[in-house]
Amino acid sequence: MLTTPWVCRSCLSRIARPLIRRQLRHQSTSAASESIPPALLSRARNIALEHKTLTEKLANGFDTKSAKKLGEYSSIVRALEKWDKANESVTELTSLIHDSTTDPELRDLAADDLGETRIDLINASQSLITSLVPVHPFAHLPCLIEIRPGAGGSEAAIFAGDLFRMYQAFCNHNGLRTSVLKYENINGTSEAGIPLSEAIFEVETENAYGVFRCEAGVHRVQRVPATETKGRTHTSAASVHVLPSLQENSAAQEDFDDPESDYYIDIKEVRQEVMRASGAGGQHVNKTESAVRLTHIPTNTVVAMQDSRSQSKNKEKAWALLRSRIAQARREKREDEIVAMRRSVIGVAKMGRGDKIRTYNYGQQRVTDHRSGTTVHDLDDVMAGGQTLEKVMDSVRSWLMERDVEGLIAEEGDTN
């Protein structure tokens, strides 16, 4: 949030230092206060207890599972220690101030200190809360971004191309490596103003999924199309999908063979087809078709790739995309269950997929995100993938964090 009193660390800094991701997650929430919901506090205390038991267990012999858990818990434990210390100081200072036997000079000093200590406590509360929110299981992965035109004919397709260039520029500015898997438009150029029918690109940097996942959803544009002669403003839309990337050598690859994991695909359930020229084949023809199509039979997920002249490259890309789509679908199914449960408790809005998430209004030169409620006015900078876009994306991540916290509280309330 742009108006929050404390520093809201950019998510991008996490990309640079993936290992300390968790500790850096001091995101703001609008529920900023020094108090912490009792449900969350008790959760943190339980975790601290478990942490202690695990530490003792590990002292008597190593076991990978416990060690992993310990790692996950340690940031919570640290945050709780800080919170306890800050909370103690505030309590001490307050009782000093309210104690009638306190020396007046000392009381003044205490009153001075109290302000600063309170801010410490607010920050500590914040860190504690965010440390409790589980990191999205795909957050550490690179990601695939898919862009397709929605309603609005060729204007929507032109806008889809604009979004493609916006994200490419954003990645460029922030030193994120990208590679285009698929760029389909009518004539094979990626110039502005040429309608785009589908683009898929990978942001190869680790943690990219965590950065871009909040971009998923329907992006709406309001502007006068270049082809409009009467000067009327049109509303059209493009959809953005963000998938975890499971390209080879990605962090998730070790899970490819584990039937329990989201990334697992039984190759027997995939039909692989290559484009073959009808007719004699062999030496009789010198065809250039290299398209590959994969169908995951149980879910009827179809992936086709034809961008490369190399059939084997197309095959590779198609497999990567299929894995990503299936992992994402499995994850979404579980998320939907969680959201349905939370909604019954607190009515959390579902994010992304099918919902209109952002409006780009060219007439007013503004961009409004409908989830965080943030409006910025430098539309050109947004479309050029500049700082203003980063600002909007950051606001959404904060909003998302708040929702997660609410969900967490709701869950604790349920189980307690």
Binding site: I186, N187, G188, T189, K268, V274, R276, G279, A280, G281, G282, Q283, H284, V285, N286, K287, T288, E289, S290, Q306, D307, S308, R309, S310, Q311, S312, K313
Partner: protein, 426 residues
């Protein structure tokens, strides 16, 4: 060729001015759009290279020229200079046949079957006859070595055309790093598959395969023989090949040469008896021969069967690796995979187990015609390798007999396997 519908041409024009011209060779809009994109990418690449040399290029003009040439039927692969063959990018030049995906599919399938075999010899030798761009040796090596490094793999590709041998060497150089060319040996040489090793040598004419191996001091025995020879009959050349193939690819690579008293079909099949003969001479344990269609596949399979030296013969289609489908039966031969019938595969002795076939090894008495063991660790005495001339005294007895035109003795029923070449399975 049917005319392209005007409506399609009009549609193409609204999308891009270059597209209608590309519809002629591509036939459908989708392919034309892909080709246009690849041509554009190529022009960008050329422009970038020129810029690096402080040279300029009128991109539109180059693209226009490429599109015009493509519209006349010149293969895209010649325009762009390469074709993909499995994972490899192979250089293509006019005068040498463009590698086909179907060939890549069978070679990949073969390499994948063989590389997991438990009882391979420590030194595996592969001979590719009619190698063209050299694509088959390079892909076989790439696929074979991609999951086993413990082998000494020796591959030789042979072609009659100097252009092809030159290009094959260049392709080896270009792909050296990816295919781990240094583990073992990869080489190319000129020879004539059709030349009769016992016939009269014409001065200046290419050597027969065996004389060439001998001349280069390469081994006389090869474990695997692969060939995608010219297999199109003169009538099929006019009826079945596309205009782009006829107009721009070398006929030498497609149609076997005419020969008196040979009818159309015999001319199309001309290489196979020679290839099987060479397979016999080099004692190949697996033979993979590409063919035009099911009819030719059956003729070749029957020919191989008549030789009575193979333990098994089967036919592979364009995509032999589609594992879900059961083999069909054509005239007593199993046919695997999907698509057109594309190759005939024959095996004998260890070759069966390399392919994962459970065939029982032949009883030793079938080797009765074989001469006595020589004491060296090679079947051929050392003097055989050292000489540039064929040294008759150093030749094994049965071959010597045949070389002298003595056909009285029955040829050996089974080719002898020099035992010492095999590493005992661990």
């Amino acid at each position: 060729m049917p005319r392209i519908p005007t409506a399609l041409l009009r549609k193409a024009r609204t999308i891009d001015a270059f597209l209608p011209a590309l519809l002629a060779p591509c036939r459908d809009l989708h392919t034309a759009q892909n080709e246009l994109r690849w041509l554009r990418e190529h022009v960008e690449k050329v422009a970038k290279a020129r810029r690096a040399k402080r040279d300029t290029l009128v991109k539109g003009a180059l693209l226009g020229q490429l599109v015009r040439e493509r519209a006349k039927g010149k293969p895209l692969q010649y325009l762009l200079g390469t074709e993909y063959f499995g994972d490899l990018e192979i250089k293509c030049r006019p005068g040498v046949l463009i590698p086909r995906q179907d060939t890549a599919a069978s070679v990949t399938h073969l390499a994948k079957l063989v590389r997991t075999a438990p009882n391979l010899p420590a030194e595996l030798r592969v001979l590719d006859l009619c190698t063209g761009t050299g694509c088959i040796p390079l892909l076989f090596r790439h696929e074979f070595t991609s999951n086993r490094k413990d082998f000494d793999l020796r591959i030789v590709g042979i072609d009659i055309s100097d252009k092809s041998i030159g290009l094959a060497h260049y392709n080896l150089l270009k792909n050296e790093r990816i295919i781990q060319a240094r583990a073992g040996m990869t080489n190319f040489a000129k020879a004539d598959v059709l030349a009769d090793p016992f016939g009269d040598l014409t001065i200046g004419a290419p050597l027969p395969v065996r004389s060439m191996l001998n001349h280069n001091k390469w081994a006389p025995f090869w474990d695997i023989l692969i060939s995608n020879p010219p297999y199109i009959s003169p009538s099929a050349y006019w009826k079945t090949t596309t205009r782009s193939v006829r107009g721009f690819e070398p006929k030498l690579a497609l149609v076997p040469p005419p020969k008196s008293k040979f009818d159309d079909r015999q001319q199309g099949d001309m290489f196979y008896p020679r290839l099987l003969k060479i397979a016999e001479e080099v004692e190949a344990k697996i033979v993979l021969l590409e063919v035009a269609d099911l009819e030719q596949a059956l003729r070749v399979a029957q020919l191989a069967q008549k030789l009575d030296v193979f333990d098994g013969i089967e036919i592979w289609r364009d995509e032999p690796d589609v594992s879900s489908s059961q083999p069909t039966n054509e005239d007593g031969f199993h046919v695997y995979g999907e698509g057109n019938a594309r190759s005939v595969v024959c095996w004998r002795s260890e070759g069966g187990s390399w392919l994962g076939k459970s065939s029982s090894p032949k009883p030793p008495e079938l080797l009765q015609d074989a001469p006595e063991e020589t004491s060296s660790n090679s079947y051929w005495p050392p003097s055989y390798y050292q000489s540039n001339e064929v040294n008759f005294n150093a030749m094994p007895r049965f071959m010597w007999k045949r070389h002298m035109g003595d056909q009285r003795g029955k040829p050996p029923t089974r080719w002898r396997t020099p035992k010492t070449r095999w590493r005992e399975p661990a």
